[in-house]
């Protein structure tokens, strides 16, 4: 499990780095072209589309590293046992939410296969919105790994 997670982490880092560079590049080149008088309209739309992937893949990595901010001030004051119980219940609740979001995301992908993204003829809308189920699905895996880790101590 740990080895799988470490591998996933490396892949996600590489994907995020690649996406961020491409998005910066698209906007930069598009601005330059517009400045010299050759406006291109699909670059910024594509950058926005890839942005969803950057967010949802990055969000999984942030979840693995406990980077998503919460408000711990109340929970911190509770005795350890109560704190652990709350943490477990809440993790299961978030897991349930992510499972539903993944299910809805898959349905959204299937419903949009014919729709074209922002007049970019070769790109189906599905490819863009697939970021949501892929991201939430990965986050489900991350939470399972976290819970297993906790149970094993």
């Amino acid at each position: 499990m740990q080895r799988v997670m470490a591998f996933l982490d490396r892949v996600e880092v590489a994907v995020c780095q690649g996406l961020l560079l491409v998005i910066v590049g698209l906007v930069f080149v598009s601005a330059l072209l517009r400045y010299v008088g050759y406006p291109v309209n699909w670059t910024n739309a594509l950058a926005s589309g890839l942005f969803v992937w950057l967010i949802y893949i990055g969000a999984d990595r942030a979840l693995r590293r406990n980077r998503h901010i919460g408000m711990s001030s109340l929970v911190d004051r509770l005795p350890e046992k109560a704190r652990n119980t709350i943490e477990l219940v809440m993790t299961l609740l978030v897991f349930l939410f992510l499972v539903i979001a993944t299910y809805l995301g898959v349905r959204m992908v299937l419903a949009n296969t014919k729709r074209v993204f922002e007049e970019i003829f070769f790109l189906s809308y599905s490819v863009i919105v697939a970021a949501v189920p892929v991201g939430t699905g990965l986050m489900c895996l991350t939470l399972i790994a976290k819970i297993l880790e906790k149970v094993r101590g």
Binding site: V24, Y56, R61, A62, H68, M90, V94, L104
Partner: protein, 428 residues
Amino acid sequence: MQLLYAALTFVVLLLCNVPIAFTLGIAGMVYFLSQTSIPFPIVAQRLVAGTQSFPLLAVPFFVLAGHLMNVSGITKRLIHLADVLVGHLPGALAQVSCVLSMFMGGVSGSSNADAAMETRILLPEMRRRGYADGFSAAVLACSSLSTAIIPPSIGLVLYGFAGQVSVGKLFIAGIIPGILMGVTMMGVTHWKAIRYGYDRDRQGKRSSFREVLSALRESIWALLFPLFLVTTLRFGIFAPVEAAAFAVVYAFCVGKFIHRELTWEKFWEAIRDAAEDNAVIMLIVSMAAILMYALAYEKVPVKMSTFILGLTNHPFLLMLAIVSFLFVAGMVMEGTVNTLLLTPIFLPIVRAAGFDPVHFGVIMAILIQIGGVTPPVGVNMYTVCSLGNIKVEEYIRESWAYVGALLALVVVLILVPQLSLALVGLMR
């Protein structure tokens, strides 16, 4: 009624330390489950739609530019410049922190990143010189706020997104208020430092004109960027997002070819960290889109504005009520969420009362920033206190003077809209 369920879920989950992004998502889902007149699958569409606004791309770009500046040696040179300029004053390092935050404001858009960076670099030296930990934490956290108002500013990008206001105008409007925030912080610091007698021995050892000039020459690339940004926005050459993409390329070129400090390893690390910071901010934006839809569907902004305008239509009483509400909201809630959920509610009200949306944006952004340094929930406060292992109680004892001064400044900015709008008027 359905909104009440959502609000209840929101509060309970928040108190149970569920990450804010998921709290928003679950509360939104609870609304859609109980409100049967909207098809449930819309939830997934909202998650995508919440991110599909072109100006939002400025968020990862400015975050990345900030990371690149740190590893390009730009930050280091700005610290030196700040030290040369104010290092002879009482409470020298505290003053350096105030001035550095203003310089960083011109290249970075996040006060929390600035607070973290300054704490790592300045706090050890502050301790060595015998500053009380509470004082150091207060000045590091509070002075960082000007970073988020001096353009570029991530908070103003989010306000522009939530309220459909021009980000370019908001940036220009933030210049003078941001600088005034920095100056206000310097004033409070000066008063405190004299009272506590910090750095008595160094007093009066002013740097020579030559030293100032050489420090200026060293940091010229960092100082040129905000000028470039403001000029391109002023003449409408670039949209804020395009300028942000330029900021990334600019920081890269300065680090690689001029300072020659940027290695490929540091470069990839900066991109990795920026992607993660961006995901933390943007997952909140994406998840908040579900609730934003619910608020609009329930016509909350219209109902709220009819209700509040029914109580009073005196513009300044109205503004006072909203400002007090935002201050309290900032104390108990994280800033991104406040911006996204409260902007659509309050903006129509202040608009109806005759305030300019750009003017209100600056006021709101400052109040939300103040929320970052006030207990019980203050992101900047926790960043500084946890990095420095400082008790929050010690921090609070020293920080109220800073918060009070900032609130006084907010009142001035409300009463004198020209401080925000005069430069915007010069546009176009």
